[in-house]
């Protein structure tokens, strides 16, 4: 027997290049991206065939979808952190409702008069206060999740399931089981698609092979909301946090192998608390945008939204076992879900079909991810 590491005894895979690593990372991002492109392409063609129009593809509609995605996308940013750390947060939907109602409550209570709109200086600082309160309430609730999970050493599923019901109840309590009507304010403008990119008037019809005569009514301003920009910026910031900062790498380490993380001196409990608090903050911001979109604080809003948010993260390559997931992927996932819903409307499909389609796509997306992983082994 040869002694010592004669070169031919070193197994070839020991000298592993990082090729697979690069490939895996690229595929994790490209996979959901390709899925989205596929949905958009097939959806447009389907509309052409079924309705004889191509309005789903219009820039106006695409921007509308972006604006509609904001709430889920914001939530998905926080949920990505949670899921990478091998946790889960089921209270996302309830926290969105809680913070939406809390911000509405602030606007209503601090409004100087019963006018339908705010005026003067109050028009600036009252909504600002509402936004801050919304985020603060979300952060606090998230931190509570984190503290309970780490102190009681209970599964995140259980704690956040409890928080889901508790927060919903608290929301209804604050709102006194009713919608909170608040004066109009800039939060509504913030979430409305009023940042015009350009104006487009395309009104035409032409024959296409296979599809026949196809109508195009691409009319009106192409605009997005400020909230879309804020969401994008926040996602970039969270991406930097995850990829480049110590905290982010620790979140990956905890999700990948918690025992190791602990052994290496990572403050696992504290990191988890921070993760749930940050997630709570994004749910808070999502709640504020929900309030802005509806202009009222509706205690029954965002019911079941946590599932859309989790679906977005999972479609985007997040694993519920922790250790993997990407912000870009999660955003694509959120967009994919929004596209499917919008598409169903354009195809004139009833809501029950929408739900079935979204459910099927989640399963297909995760199955494809899983197959890809397995092929590598």
């Amino acid at each position: 027997m040869t002694r010592g590491p004669s070169p031919d005894l070193i197994p070839p895979d020991l000298v592993q290049s990082s090729k697979t690593t690069v490939h895996r990372r690229a595929m994790n991002v490209l996979g959901p991206m390709l899925g989205l492109i596929l949905v958009v392409f097939v959806g447009g063609v389907a509309e052409g065939v079924r309705e004889g129009s191509l309005n789903y593809w219009s820039p106006q509609n695409q921007c509308l979808i972006l604006t509609q995605t904001v709430t889920v996308a914001l939530g998905a940013i926080g949920m990505t952190l949670v899921i990478i750390s091998a946790g889960i947060d089921l209270s996302a939907g309830s926290l969105i409702a809680l913070t939406a109602v809390a911000s509405a409550w602030v606007v209503r209570e601090f409004a100087p008069s019963d006018d339908a709109t705010l005026s003067g200086q109050a028009a600036v600082w009252i909504p600002l206060l509402a936004v801050l309160v919304g985020i603060a309430v979300g952060t606090l609730a998230g931190a509570t999740n984190g503290l309970l999970i780490t102190r009681l050493k209970l599964a995140p599923f259980i704690i956040t399931l409890g928080m889901m019901s508790f927060a919903r109840g608290a929301t209804e309590g604050i709102a006194n089981m009713q919608r909170i009507d608040a004066p109009l304010n800039w939060i509504a403008d913030f979430t409305a698609a009023n940042l015009r990119v350009f104006h487009l008037n395309l009104h035409t019809a032409f024959p296409l092979p296979l599809l026949g005569q196809v109508r195009i009514d691409w009319v009106g301003p192409v605009a997005i909301s400020a909230a879309v920009l804020v969401t994008g910026l926040l996602a970039v910031a969270a991406g930097v946090l995850l990829g480049r900062m110590r905290l982010g790498r620790h979140i990956f380490a905890i999700g990948s192998n918690e025992a190791t993380a602990r052994l290496c001196g990572i403050a696992v409990e504290r990191t988890k608390c921070i993760v749930y608090a940050l997630a709570g903050a994004t749910f808070g911001l999502a709640g504020v945008t929900d309030f802005g979109r509806l202009s009222v604080g509706d205690p029954s809003t965002a019911m079941g939204k946590e599932l859309d948010i989790i679906a977005a993260v999972v479609i985007g390559g997040g694993s519920l076992n922790g250790g993997s997931g990407s912000l870009f992927g999660s955003l694509i996932g959120a967009l994919l879900v929004a596209h499917l819903r919008n598409l169903c409307v354009h195809l004139g499909l009833p809501t029950y079909v929408q739900k079935m389609v979204v459910g099927a796509v989640i399963i297909v997306a995760v199955a494809v991810n899983h197959l890809r992983e397995r092929q590598k082994d």
């Binding site: 027997m1 040869t2 002694r3 010592g4 590491p5 031919d8 005894l9 070193i10 197994p11 895979d13 020991l14 000298v15 592993q16 290049s17 990082s18 697979t20 690593t21 895996r24 480049r244 900062m245 110590r246 905290l247 790498r249 620790h250 990956f252 380490a253 999700g255 990948s256 192998n257 025992a259 190791t260 993380a261 052994l263 290496c264 001196g265 990572i266 250790g323 993997s324």
Partner: protein
Amino acid sequence: MLRMTGISKAFGSTRALIEVDLDVRPGEVHALVGENGAGKSTLMKVLSGALQADAGRMRLEGKAYAPRGPLDARAAGVAMIYQELSLAPDLSVEENVLLGVEPTAFGFVRRHHMRRQVEEALRLLHHGDIRPGARVGDLSIGAQQLVEVARALAAKARVVVMDEPTSSLSQADTEVLFEVIRTLRDSGVSVIYISHFLEEVRAVADRFTVLRDGRAVGTGVVASTPTAEIIHLMVGRELAEMYHRTPHEIGEPVLDLSSLTGRKIPRNADLVLCRGEVLGIAGLIGSGRTELARAVFGLDEVVSGRVRVDGVSTTGWKPPRMLKRGVGYLSEDRKTEGLAENLTVLDNLTLSRLKPYVSFGLLSRSRAREAAGRWIRRLGIRTLGPDQPITGLSGGNQQKVALARLLHQEADVLLLDEPTRGIDVGSKADIYTLIGELAANNKAILWISSYLPELLGVCDTLAVMHRGCLSEKRPVSEWTPDAIMHVATGGDTVGSEAAAPAQPEPAAPAAGHAPQGNAIDGRDPSADEEAGP
């Protein structure tokens, strides 16, 4: 370098450590050997601060050393490398090496700093070939182990403890690790090496300390101490009893594989296993031994070829049908596959065959318990009783439960994948004896193992796998460790004439210690006494 004196530790009424002394010199590899439960892990937990000793003192580099936790120990220069790898598979090599001590500026990780530090550590280990940016989960087990060592180096460890580091490594990876250990030693780091494999101790360690029942019963220089003496210290039992053979006769064929081919491996495996035969399958990890057993048992897909049991084709059958046919499989992965970790001994034992205890659709626990009790006695399983959780048992006894399950389901053909991995010497001896007895009872046994001495000591016939190809089976007397390694590492075309015949030269020191010779030559089934402790 490190001196532990008079360390005692009790858990309730159990005295795990009794005034243990351990003296590790600078730049030496010190082997810590002993059966499972001898107190090795407890002693190392005291050293790493995971446990506090009841009595005794520790000095590290002349200074008093009393770690309050693993972090403290790490800061003082004591690094542990655990049996189960403690890496985050989703992070890169560099992130794993510096996990928890990343160089940062304003919370941002300083990548280039990180890379330089890690490249430095890997170069020290002569393994600059591992890319710092690679994802650890994509690396082989051997390379992952090197990442662990690099982590210890990066932490400026003075004492590195390795707890059974080779338990999941192939022979080649083990050699690489040994070279790394020598490199560490030559750079002045002390290595405490815990292992069940005495030939590893012989290959890599300078001195040794033997623990038995919580006491340090002997220490010395490895080179000047015969292996037999070390084993004697460990078990208080003679070496010749290790590979104990029950006389048995090889009967008619029962399992017949013809050009069995799986999805990737195995490739065209031909094999005939007879009743009363113990057939060993040697080969490196990843050579397709496990896949062969899984394909036979119907766990993995069979792409082409045929499996016949008692002349009936069972190709493509699923495990439940194979079980009914009398084929049982013992997984190499006791923890995740072999046993249900949160169930009791009883549940684990009877899991695959509850039928005899069911009447009118209801399970009679008392009857099942009675039967389990019989198996516990029959195999000498050390447990508090059938209702004890399986996790409360030592590795060796857990493995006996897994074996008992196969016997309980009345398997005639036993596919055993690494049945003795990670278990103590006493339990190993018990299992060897048991396998001999099973063969004597006309059962057919296919035994996969990476541990050549036991294959050579216990099997009747032996075949070797290399890259999915199975060599011809030959009587074990025609094999030597050299010949096996020759085939296993692809030195020859598998199955060719040149592969097998025994080479005249004596076995290499690393693998060749006394029991092989004993076992191969000493085929006379004398000494019928129980070899268990």
